[in-house]
Assembly symmetry: C2
């Protein structure tokens, strides 16, 4: 299939696909006229990339997963490198959550200081 069809089926833009290729995440054969030609495996790769992006991974994070699929594994996450990324990501997310919780407390404290009572009375609630 060509890039337009892959884009439609994967739910991404053709621009995104070319970008992934430029970043070395996917590759494409070229037909005689220079058009990119993809197979079903590529749909799988792109789907993997999208689901990873959807949970906050970067394209760089997605590399090991793509490599894993290319290596023939059914799941992109079943390779050591992918697992390492999963674990690093979990740690990063935990960090962010902690940061946000701290911030939340700080902001709530400042609000309380600046306007005692404001933090308790929800807007629009009697």
């Amino acid at each position: 299939m060509r890039i337009g069809e892959l884009a439609r089926r994967a739910g991404v833009s053709t621009r995104a696909l070319r970008y992934y290729e430029q970043q070395g995440l996917i590759t494409a054969r070229r037909s005689a006229n220079g058009y990119r030609e993809y197979g079903e495996e590529d749909l799988k790769l792109v789907s993997e990339i999208r689901s990873l992006l959807a949970v906050g991974f970067t394209l760089d994070d997605a590399r090991p997963f793509v490599a894993c699929l290319r290596a023939g594994h059914e799941s992109g996450g079943s390779c050591p490198d992918s697992v390492a990324v999963y674990q690093r990501k979990l740690a990063e997310i935990d960090d962010e959550i902690r940061t946000l919780l701290t911030r939340r407390a700080e902001v709530a404290a400042q609000l309380t200081t600046a306007c005692p009572g404001c933090v308790l009375r929800k807007v629009g609630k009697s």
Copy 2:
């Protein structure tokens, strides 16, 4: 005081101060030679801005706080507009936290699926 001194005392770069001015957050008198001239109030404004940025506010979010201080209030947060921003920010932070918690669960689930047991065995732990 001139921009260099304010920058040192506030712990920011002169570039940042000029940017805040460009964004309409602070203003400066000009001495005969064209140099920016600041007073102690400006240090207070900049400090307020920095502490807000530190907890994840944008410069735009900081506007009401600066206006509040300029209006003579001791605290930048003690004006209705500032309180509204506080509350909006709290809601935003809560949203982000919820999103991250969801993501964490998703990533952990994928990790479990891809590599059962990996999520339990902490790296480097026997």
